[in-house]
């Protein structure tokens, strides 16, 4: 008979729940790596649903956080080293390495990755680091494009992103049609997919800070990619991660570098504006 009252009480309990689950809050620690303080909290850009953007690092378990904070222990650093080897290795018909044209990556690639994806006037679509590597390999070196998630693709991407270590993420949406790709990415972000009928926003916005099973839901930021995932004991690319999230809604997965995932990369990266590039971040 009093079901309506009970319903109201239940709704209130849900609202209070946000504050109640103290263990679900992101931590307030500082992330300092090799003496450099990372920006793990930043004021959100205009038009963002949150007031503050938060690095996924703040949501991880203490051991996972410690592993990222210690660059000697972080297994992702091996991929940075491997990336440097590839950078200096000749490949393809033209007998060139990346270094043949770009010399010392610590100078020529410094802060470059923090501003990707960028507008690519030639293909008239956004380009990310993986696709830019392929572009140089095919057009400049006479080498083949990498297969998606080839170990060398991940290592080289990690190496280039690492040259922006600590630099705040910032995209230039004024170039070309970047704004319309951002618009499309936003649409995808709020579109529910699969039999479970969930959107990115269902988990990373509406349920941010809560636990889904054992996983503490973060804002789903891209600033740490490629990230070292303990579960897979391997580096994981952003497109791999997004495909996995979509698969978990029991939907068909879009192809890596498809329009859908490139638009999402633009939008998701923008949602992390101001956070330090943390590559290679460590996640569970």
């Amino acid at each position: 008979m009093n079901k309506n009252l009970v319903l109201l009480a239940a709704v209130a309990a849900v609202a209070v729940g946000v504050a109640q689950f103290a263990y679900a809050d992101p931590v307030s620690d500082k992330l300092v790596i090799d003496g450099k303080e990372m920006i793990t909290r930043a004021p959100a850009p205009e038009g963002h649903p949150f007031k503050e953007v938060l690095s996924g690092w703040l949501f991880r378990e203490p051991e996972t956080r410690a592993l990222e904070a210690d660059s000697f222990a972080n297994p992702g650093m091996l991929y940075v080293e491997r990336g440097e080897e590839i950078w200096n290795t000749v490949d393809g018909a033209k007998g060139k390495s990346c270094a043949s044209c770009h010399n010392d990556a610590s100078e020529t690639m410094k802060d470059v990755g923090a501003h990707y994806p960028k507008w690519d006037a030639e293909t008239k679509r956004p380009i990310n680091i993986e696709l830019q590597i392929d572009k140089c390999r095919t057009e400049q070196m006479g080498a083949e494009a990498y297969k998606f998630d080839a170990a060398d693709q991940k290592a080289l991407t990690t190496y280039i992103k690492y040259q922006s270590f600590g630099t705040p993420v910032k995209l230039d949406l004024a170039k070309g049609d970047m704004q319309s790709w951002w618009d499309r990415g936003k649409k995808e972000y709020y579109t529910r997919t699969g039999q479970l009928n969930l959107a990115c926003a269902s988990c990373h916005e509406a349920s941010m800070g809560r636990h889904i099973r054992a996983d503490h839901l973060s804002q789903g930021q891209a600033n740490g990619f490629p990230t070292y995932r303990l579960k897979q004991a391997d580096m994981v690319s952003l497109h791999n991660r997004m495909r996995g999230c979509i698969r978990d809604t029991r939907a068909e997965m879009p192809k890596a570098f498809s329009d859908e995932l490139m638009a999402l990369e633009v939008y998701v990266t923008w949602r992390g504006t101001g956070l330090s590039v943390e590559t290679p971040a460590v996640r569970q």
């Binding site: 009970v6 849900v14 579109t191 997919t193 699969g194 039999q195 009928n197 969930l198 889904i212 809604t249």
Partner: protein, 153 residues
């Protein structure tokens, strides 16, 4: 002799299957009124013990992904995307629980994160082998509802 037995078995199996089909209400035909579904989805009453299995099974209800239940402390990793279900059987009438599990959007509104477990109102690009299929069968919904009714305050 032998073929006679085979025929009898075949007939009784098809009768069972036929009976289940005839009495299940199809996902599109479930009637919601005031956040409740008063008619049972099947002719067979829900079985709380079966419901508990469906509830915890990660491939079926996977309800613990988003809900805590004190009575299931032995199971690892209860999520908290939704509220604790302790006392859900006291807070809600069976018909309301049936509505929540069948299609939570009809009760909580379109924005809820909770999936509809016996609904074809789903997201885009559903995995090919799941097109036209619901997460749970009508009987599994009845079983889960019977289990939820045991969660008294």
């Amino acid at each position: 002799m032998q073929s006679g037995i085979a025929v009898v078995v075949a007939v009784s199996v098809s009768m069972l299957a036929g009976a289940a089909w005839a009495e299940d209400i199809a996902p599109g035909d479930v009637e919601f009124a005031d956040g409740a579904v008063s008619a049972a989805l099947t002719g067979k009453p829900g079985d709380a013990a079966e419901g508990a299995k469906v509830f915890v099974d990660r491939k079926l209800g996977n309800c613990l992904a988003c809900h805590e239940v004190s009575a299931l402390k032995k199971q690892l990793f209860h999520g908290n995307v939704g509220p604790s279900l302790d006392g859900a059987g006291t807070r809600w009438e069976p018909a309301q629980l049936r509505a929540i599990v069948t299609d939570s959007k009809k009760v909580f509104g379109p924005e809820t994160v909770m999936p509809g477990f016996y609904s074809l109102n789903v997201g885009v690009n559903v995995r090919k082998d799941l097109v036209g299929k619901t997460i749970l069968t009508a009987q599994q919904v009845e079983d889960v509802v019977a289990y939820l009714e045991t969660l008294k305050e």
